[in-house]
């Protein structure tokens, strides 16, 4: 090969300069965090109101055509232990000590409903290489397109809440998760879990209204009666109930870049299995990192040049054809 060391260095330096000059000299910017869509809808789940009746689980299975999920050998009840490809929504129980008092951290218990949080800036959507996971432009629901999916399961790894589930037992598996009953939203209905919640623990509505409602509840005085809407935040079907103490925090307002599902509880959120997340979404963090690394392909070219140089230096005459 006739390429001398001098020539190689010349070529690589010119290439680098060309690449650098072709791109804007502006320093790398972090990816802008996504804002809540104005028309975004979501669910407010209030664990202090939840009575653990599992009506939401039954309704979810019915309206999403999901099979029962068994965790006991006799397979009599639908009793999943965690979210799965057969279960989009689950009511879990936190207990401590004697487990007597509802919504108390010590010697108490609390229910917690787990399902897709419908992030404002979803990591699964960011991680999906084929846009099988998308965020609806109007409702903001994180939905899945089985025809685009290649089954890489990046979404499973990316999700900070461990929500997307893979059909391990299927020949042509899909990712299964709550899609905010998008099929029902399209018909003018709202999610089945909220429609069938008898106690108003889960209410559906515009996220801005839900945030207002959550703030209203946090401002209530424990021990006094207050009105709580049932099914929908703007519902006329309302109930009086005694206010029990809340954790002074709305989970999902900013957590992980914010979610369209908001949670209120009397027990610290980390005890309920809700991860402590930074205010910036993991999608924003990883995309910033990625975009910085690949900005204008400079860093990759430099690395490639380095690799070329190493290879060139170690190439002897015998190796060449």
């Amino acid at each position: 090969m006739g390429l001398s060391r001098r020539d190689f260095l010349k070529v690589s330096a010119t290439g680098g300069l060309l690449a650098a000059s072709a791109l804007s000299p502006v320093p790398v910017l972090a990816r802008e965090p996504r804002e809540r869509l104005p028309e975004a809808v979501g669910i407010l789940y209030d664990a202090t109101v939840c009575i653990g009746c599992k009506a939401c689980m039954a309704a979810c299975k019915e309206y999403n055509n999901l099979p029962p999920d068994h965790s006991t050998p006799d397979s009599i009840w639908d009793n999943p232990l965690d979210l799965s490809a057969k279960t989009y929504n689950i009511v879990k129980l936190y207990t401590n000590g004697t487990g007597q008092f509802k919504d108390q951290e010590t010697n108490g218990y609390s229910f917690i409903r787990r399902f897709c949080m419908h992030c404002v800036d979803p990591a699964c959507v960011s991680a999906c290489p084929v846009s099988a996971m998308t965020k609806d432009h109007d409702t903001g629901a994180v939905v899945y397109n089985k025809d685009a999916c290649i089954g890489c399961r990046y979404c499973q790894v990316a999700c900070p809440y461990n929500i997307p589930k893979f059909q391990w037992d299927q020949a042509f598996p899909q990712i299964k998760k709550c899609q905010l009953c998008s099929h029902r939203l399209a018909q003018g209905n709202y999610p089945a879990c909220c429609e069938f919640c008898p106690n108003g623990a889960s209410i559906f509505g515009n996220v801005q209204d839900l945030l207002k409602e959550a703030k209203r509840r946090l401002a209530l005085t424990p021990g006094q009666t207050a009105t709580y809407p049932l099914h929908r935040v703007d519902s006329q079907d309302r109930r009086e109930r005694l206010v029990t103490p809340y954790q002074n925090y709305i989970y999902g307002k900013t957590d992980g870049g914010g979610t369209q599902v908001l949670i209120l509880s009397g027990v610290p959120y980390e005890k309920l299995g809700l991860p402590t997340l930074p205010g910036e979404s993991t999608a924003a963090t990883s995309e910033t990192l990625m975009h910085s690394l690949y900005k204008g392909m400079i860093a990759p070219y430099v690395v490639l040049g380095g690799l070329f140089y190493i290879v060139y230096k170690n190439t002897t005459k015998q190796d060449l054809p």
Partner: protein, 399 residues
């Protein structure tokens, strides 16, 4: 019980056949939640000639509790009740009246001092010295207070006697209270609330007293746990509709006609402790209880619910009793829940799902052994290859 004793039963109980008698004993045993062998014990206790007398005092009441006992449709059950419990004084049922019956009561109380069962039916007015309910010229309050110390056991039948019932509803002009409140803490009243209560809850309590000579296990409100341990909501035949969110929204709508949950019509099942869905009423078969007929439970037996909460008000759903109230037997052995096979398995999954335990020691050993063998074989093979290559090279050199 000896067979010959059983043969004597028809004579002993007048109109009651031996078969009917044993049937009633079996029903009572079942509602007490006792093993069937206890039915024989109960039959023995009932057949014994020393049946303690019952003094039945009626206060502010509608006689509904008496009626419920009489209207039970088991064959000749009214005769059974009268014979089972030797009713010495009852204002509604006594053939005698006036001074004659008051005299009979006085005699019976004196003759059976410390042995008779005192049944209180109806609330007791306390305002203005209790003048709002006078019997034989005496206020009900005084009658109860002077009879109670002489009784072996005190039973308050019906919601009125248990906690005040209708007469105590706001504004409670007569200051009506239940028997326990009227008597104070010195006495323990066994409460059988309900409007009316199920006759078998009363009968079972009486027969338990006769048979075992002790008070059945009571809850904090003095109610026998065998009957009042569970919420109506827990045993309700429409519970599955509640869990699935299928509610009747108004009387006569599609949901109501299809037998869906009545919660949204104001059913108080979720806050009322009673065994109505299990025992039913009137011995006429399935669905013969309020919710079964499509009428929301109004919580007649529960203080603060029945006659207090508005009929249409939705019940509080804050109670958490998937396995019933804790229930301890005399031996400290827990009954209910799993024993009754009513608790679903693993009612609620924990926050962190259980994970499979790691590989066992044997598996690890086996895997390590196999890996070691493979490594050894690989090393030996590599050495052989090296040797062969060496030989080949030598040969090549020779060539």
């Amino acid at each position: 019980m000896q067979d010959k004793d059983l043969e004597r039963l028809p004579e002993h109980f007048g109109m009651v056949s031996r078969r009917d008698f044993l049937k009633v004993c079996a029903v009572v045993t079942a509602s007490l939640g006792l093993p069937m062998a206890a039915a024989v014990k109960i039959a023995e206790a009932v057949a014994s000639p020393q049946r303690p007398p019952v003094i039945w005092l009626s206060g502010q009441e509608c006689t509904g509790c008496t009626e419920t006992l009489l209207r039970a449709t088991h064959p000749t059950v009214e005769s059974l009740i009268l014979d089972l419990i030797s009713l010495d004084y009852h204002e509604t049922l006594s053939a005698a009246a006036g001074y004659q019956v008051e005299e009979a009561k006085r005699k019976s109380i004196e003759a059976n001092r410390g042995k008779f069962i005192l049944v209180v039916e109806g609330a007791i007015p306390t305002k203005d010295g209790g003048v709002y309910c006078m019997i034989g010229g005496k206020p009900m309050l005084d009658l109860v207070r002077e009879t109670a110390p002489l009784a072996a056991a005190i039973i308050g039948i019906g919601s009125c006697a248990s906690w005040g019932g209708i007469p105590s509803a706001a504004p409670n002009p007569t200051g009506a209270v239940g028997a326990q409140e009227a008597l104070g803490d010195k006495f323990k009243v066994i409460n059988i609330p309900g409007c009316p209560p199920n006759p078998y809850n009363f009968l079972s309590t009486v027969l338990y007293l006769l048979t075992f000579k002790k008070v059945p296990d009571l809850d904090a409100q003095g109610r026998p746990r065998f009957a009042y341990r569970r919420l109506i909501h827990e045993g309700c035949e429409r519970r599955a509709h509640f869990d699935a969110g299928r509610f009747a929204l108004e009387f006569g709508d599609e949901g109501h006609r299809r037998g869906w949950c009545l919660y949204k019509l104001g059913c108080k099942g979720p806050e009322t402790f009673n065994n109505c869905p299990a025992l039913l009423f009137g011995d006429v078969g399935a669905r013969s209880w309020p919710v079964g007929t499509g009428c929301p439970c109004f919580g007649c037996s529960e203080k603060g619910v029945g006659f207090t909460a508005p009929i249409v008000a939705q019940a509080s759903l804050e109670r958490f009793t998937p396995a019933g109230m804790p229930y301890k037997t005399g031996e400290g052995q827990r009954v209910g829940g799993g024993a009754l096979r009513l608790t679903p398995p693993a009612s609620y999954p924990p926050i962190t799902p259980p994970e499979g335990h790691g590989p066992s020691a044997a598996t690890v050993g086996l895997a390590a052994g196999l890996a070691g063998a493979a490594l050894g074989a690989g090393a030996v093979a590599a050495m052989k290859i090296g040797r062969q290559e060496g030989k080949t090279d030598d040969k090549a050199g020779e060539d």
